[in-house]
Amino acid sequence: MNISEELKTRLKFISNCNITEDVYKKLLENTFATLAGKSETHSMSTLYNSKPDLLKQAHAILLQAGAEFARNNMNGDEVKAVLTEINFNQNRTKLFVDLYETNKDDVQVQLGNIGMHPPHIVDADWKIDYIVKASNLDQSEGPIFRISLVSSKYDECDNERKLERINFSCNSQELQDLVYKLKDAVRHCQRLTTE
């Protein structure tokens, strides 16, 4: 378990600070909703009471802890061990572990979405053209394959998933080559699994 000392001291602060159990619970729910990519269930300003700075800090620390635990793929028991080591009381530990276990997969999905990925092909359109004759061409060499790969890609400007078309045309030989390459890749994957 490679949880940094810094995070541990920060968590210790939460275990010592005096916020009520109810506020703690709501704060946790908010935290995991944010981590799992959902909208927050409670309005933060209602939780503030007299100590907004404390709450702000606690919220940040809980967010960090939840993300860190999910990043290390720790199971509930391991999380529990870490929290008890930092002197969280039983009730708070249990609340944290329960919420963590129910939300772990979602959090990991969200974490998995961080990072650069090449566009992902989801569909393909095609058509076969045949140029019988053209102004600059007397004889054609055969059909031309117009292929449009539909790929899904994250759009940095609009902050959402968008479909992007990759268009190209090729002759039958090139297409054959492409198909062989793809088949080769599939075979390689299959060999990986059987060995």
């Binding site: 920060r10 700075d53 940040a60 620390i61 967010l63 974490l111 979405n113 899904s152």
Partner: protein
């Protein structure tokens, strides 16, 4: 043969051939069972082979299937005689031989050793990659609109199938209130309380987690904070400035025929420069004078204070002198001083009396405190050690539990093959039997050897006694007619006896031969040729009928 049959039937049952419980030996095998068991064995050896598990009804199909199976078995390397007749018109011995061969070729179940289950990080990762690739290949395609943020829940693991939601890793500077910090200004606290937005609102929604986890936009490292003193560049810049100035000067001298104004301007410039210098000098002198002034005023203040002090001193001195001029007063004062001194000594003594025990006590208490502190430290150390131990034990425990589960599942798998011990027991029994038999054979061999020896010695004795009697009678025969006839009789007797012995040995040979023949006859009888021939006849008739039917159909079609 019973053991062999048991082994064959056991392994066939393991292959989930449905052999009835009451079948105990290969004698009870019907054509149906033989066929299906061979098919099961072949499929276990080579999963690419596909056959129907039961014999087809039609005679010609039966023949065809049986021939292909026979070919497959031959391909596997079976040396003996193998054809459709072995399967369809089976006899026990041949079937036993073929099935033994097939059972030997059955693939063994691969048992993973427990050592290989404790994997390191890299093999685990590779295994996980394999698993996810396998899942990706196995699972049917699903439109990415149905996926949850591009991921798919497959019970065991979450498969990432669409990376369209993957935004770049980008972190922003995030401010978090830090109440643990000791020295923070009140105004900063006020800022935290009233104006600082929450972490989630300080940056884009998708950047919250990266900013919290990495914070690479903050240079906390010391390497970044120390300023690099770039002396070299400074000097370089200075050099450049100087050379520039030179260049300007150069220009001025090389072009003397510039207008007079230029010269005028230069003159004025020089004057300005001079004035500037003068001004600066004046400024410096003014500053110096200012400083001097300040020093002088300082000195003055000091001297004034000293004057005041000395004045007060003089006052008190004059007063005391006035008092001391009276003698009584002097004596009184002396007494007072003496008394005061005595009292001081007394008090000091008293203080010592009180102080020493208290000091001792204080020291003792301090020592106690020290020992207690060291004890506490020890205890803390112990506690820490225990905690570490507990964590390691817990880890070990969970690992052991995992291992136990794995072993339990493996054990369950193993349990199916309980016949292993039975096999070994049987093998041991067989070995013991063979040992006994060989011992008996040895005994019999020794017996026969002894008998042979006896026979040989008797033969020798006989020969010797015959030659002796022959000589004796021959000597007498020259003189006596009776003896001559006796000699003749002896010769015929010897010849007859030889014939008798010859006859006995030939009888023995014939008997052995006849026994061999009898065995052969028995073996032939075992093959049940007549019944098989009958079956063969029936099958031929059946086939003929089928052929006739087919011909009929054909003719009908053509008509």
């Amino acid at each position: 043969m019973e053991e062999v049959d048991n082994i064959i039937i056991d392994s066939l049952r393991n292959l989930s051939c449905n052999i009835d419980e009451d079948v105990q030996s290969l004698k009870q095998f019907t054509t149906e069972i033989v066929y299906s068991s061979m098919v099961f064995c072949l499929q276990a050896i080579n999963p690419d082979i596909h056959f129907v598990h039961s014999l087809p009804q039609s005679m010609s199909l039966r023949l065809k299937n049986a021939t292909t199976i026979a070919e497959h078995i031959k391909e596997l390397g079976y040396r003996g005689d193998m054809g459709y007749q072995t399967i369809l018109y089976c006899n026990e011995i041949e079937i036993r031989r073929v099935l033994m061969f097939l059972v030997e070729r059955l693939p063994r179940e691969v048992h993973k050793s427990t050592v290989s289950t404790e994997l390191g990080y890299v093999p685990k990762l590779v295994k996980k990659i394999d698993e996810s690739v396998r899942l990706n290949l196995e699972k049917p395609w699903v439109p990415s609109e149905f996926l949850k943020f591009g991921s798919r829940d497959c019970k065991k693991m979450v498969l990432k199938q669409d990376f369209g939601y993957g935004h770049n890793l980008q972190s922003e500077i995030i401010q978090i209130p830090d109440l643990q910090k000791q020295d923070c200004v009140e105004s900063l606290k006020q800022y935290w309380v009233h104006y600082l937005p929450e972490v989630t609102k300080q940056c884009l929604k998708q950047n919250v987690v990266p900013s919290l986890l990495y914070r690479d936009s903050e240079f906390t490292d010391l390497a970044f904070s120390t300023k690099v003193e770039n002396v070299e560049t400074n000097s370089l810049v200075n050099n450049i400035e100087i050379s520039n100035a030179n260049l300007v000067k150069h220009n001025g001298t090389t072009v003397p025929e510039l207008s007079i104004f230029e010269i005028e301007i230069n003159k004025i410039r020089c004057a300005i420069e001079e004035n500037k210098h003068k001004y600066e000098e004046l400024q410096i002198s003014y500053n110096n004078l200012d400083k001097q002034l300040a020093q002088i005023t300082d000195e003055r203040h000091k001297k004034e204070a000293a004057l005041k002090e000395s004045l007060t001193k003089i006052k008190t001195r004059s007063k005391t002198l006035a008092v001391l001029q009276n003698k009584e007063n002097l004596i009184k004062l002396k007494n007072l001083v003496d008394n005061g001194n005595k009292r001081l000594v007394e008090l000091a003594n008293h203080w010592n009396d009180i102080q020493s025990p208290l000091l001792q006590e204080y020291q003792e208490l301090q020592e106690q405190l020290k020992t207690r502190k060291s004890k506490i430290r020890d205890e803390e150390q112990k506690l820490q050690n225990l905690k570490d131990k507990k964590i390691s034990l817990k880890k070990e425990l969970s690992e052991k539990e995992k291992l136990e589960q794995q072993l339990a599942t493996e054990y369950e798998k193993l349990n199916k093959n309980t016949n292993r011990s039975a096999y070994t027991r049987r093998i041991l029994e067989i070995i013991a039997n063979i040992k006994k038999q060989s011992e008996e054979i040895q005994k019999i061999l020794i017996d026969t050897k002894i008998v042979q020896k006896d026979i040989n010695s008797l033969n020798g004795q006989l020969d010797r006694s015959f030659t002796l009697s022959d000589e004796l009678i021959f000597r007498d025969a020259k003189r006596d007619a009776m003896a001559r006839s006796a000699y003749k009789l002896l010769a015929t007797l010897h010849k007859d006896c030889g014939e008798v012995v010859q006859a006995v040995t030939t009888v023995g040979l014939v008997e052995r031969e006849s026994r061999n023949l009898q065995e052969q006859i028995d073996a032939e009888l075992c093959k049940e040729v007549t019944s098989k021939l009958e079956r063969l006849n029936n099958d031929i008739i059946e086939m003929k009928r089928e052929n006739a039917l087919l011909i009929n159909k054909l003719t009908e079609r053509t008509c």
